[in-house]
Symmetry: C2
Subunit: 285 residues, 2 copies
């Protein structure tokens, strides 16, 4: 392929950003000293108006997108709710998201905190609630797109290629990767994409989401809440992730490496326009 | 090696347990129908006395150990606090841990919920608090043990080998793997080991913890709180994980695959009694 790997990205990884990795000294198995690049991991506390919501461990780029996407995927920000400000304070490691008027979430949190005693368990419940009656739009997925996407993504310079120990998520349209986010928390990478989509008013219906992480219930739910009808991963599945994908009509593809993949939901949306045997079995991300 | 892979385990994985995996129908890249085993993922809500604490997503085995270990690693259960009951209700998907007298945690939670508005962010803070002034006991780590451990662990029948998409953590003493837990959440696997150690009154000082997960701050903190002076992973590091390991005096070994590994903390505790070139480069877990 002569295609420039990165020129089509709206946002590509930035492995040259010196805030994202650090070189530490260590030794290898033979006792030889080595300089090892490792990813940074920083706490980021998200506030919604006056309310502290969560502290996420993140690599630290795009804190505003992470906060917006997290709140939206938790349905703490309602669709169409007007965001009046997103303020990141690097020193305090906080992002404050402001909306006009008080949010419905603050009342909800108060109620949940009272009834269940602690808000920790509500995070998941909030997401499940958003799934009620959700059915994703139908959207064909060409297998040739999948092979092209994986080929480009695997060769894109990234923090992963530099330092490892980080997950990546890529928002794609057909065979074009558009926004490639990385994070130490795999859900953060997805939330940063959700934040970007919310900021840009981008719709999920014509998109494919690629992730290096496993296709767990939480990953499938986030993708569904983002309105994206196809989710692709190099990793495997959980049973509940498969159940939810089938319920909402998502095309779910896992164990995608080289020519191989497994489709456990939405195979009627697959258009087989590429011969697997012609796909080179490149080292997958 | 003629050594029986599993006979020394006190607890080994149980891939034959039909509650842990399910076969779902899918198609492969060529459109061929395939039966794919996938791991189960179930919610489990942990209560401490009358207080709901957290809902974890878990594969579902050893719920009592998971609850006990989570509470202990969060320092919601104090050392020496008397646990009067641990009741798992399969239908309700709950575990209630009971202690004699009210716990200090309930007062703490009330305070934190008031000051920070939401308890979500306190989970991490609680763990960090437990690290104050913690210094792990010195303990030599023989490189021959590491190679033997990895060789046994990689060949041990497991849910991972059956269905993938699951993390494993193994409590070891010298070159003997003792307790091998698996879970869809990598922290759950560690917490289940912590619960087993608490139940058995097992000390961490002479142990090595092996994990398939990355060496993030949370993983290093949990290992430190369990009093285990050596943590080994096939995966990579985060900078904060390395910082904490150095602060508490933990031997931290990552990227362990075949003969190769990287040691980023506590290399003075390594005893190099195995020649890396004699280690076969087997496919690592």
């Amino acid at each position: 392929m002569g295609r420039d790997d990165t020129h089509n990205y709206l946002i590509a990884p930035n492995p040259g950003n010196t805030r994202l990795t650090r070189v530490v000294q260590g030794v290898d198995e033979a006792g030889k000293a080595a300089d090892i690049p490792v990813v940074e991991e920083r706490p980021l506390t998200v506030f919604l108006n006056g309310q502290e919501i969560v502290t996420a461990m993140t690599i630290g780029d795009y804190p505003e997108y992470l906060a917006l996407g997290f709140l939206r995927n938790q349905r703490m920000l309602q669709l169409g709710e007007s965001v009046t400000g997103v303020d990141f304070d690097e020193e305090l490691e906080t992002v404050v998201v402001r909306t006009d008027g008080s949010t419905t979430y603050e009342e909800k949190l108060k109620k949940k905190t009272r009834t269940s005693g602690c808000a920790v368990g509500t995070v998941f419940g909030d997401m499940m609630e958003g799934l009620d009656d959700l059915t994703l739009p139908k959207a064909l997925v060409h297998t040739s797109w999948l092979y092209t996407l994986c080929s480009i993504i695997n060769r894109t310079p990234s923090v992963y290629l530099e330092a490892g120990a980080i997950h990546g998520t890529v928002l794609c349209r057909q065979d074009n990767p558009m926004v490639y986010m990385e994070d130490v928390g795999r859900h953060n990478a997805v939330d940063k994409i959700a934040g970007w989509m919310l900021s840009e008013g981008e719709d999920g219906a014509d998109k494919i989401l690629y992730t290096t992480g496993r296709l767990t219930s939480e990953m499938v739910i986030k993708c569904a809440l983002m309105g994206i009808p196809a989710l692709v991963s190099r990793s495997g599945f959980t049973a509940w992730g498969v159940d939810i994908a089938r319920e909402v009509g998502m095309t779910l593809i896992g164990r995608m490496r080289g020519a191989r993949f497994t489709c456990l939901s939405g195979e009627d949306q697959l258009v087989r326009d590429a011969e697997p045997k012609h796909v080179q079995d490149k080292k997958a991300r």
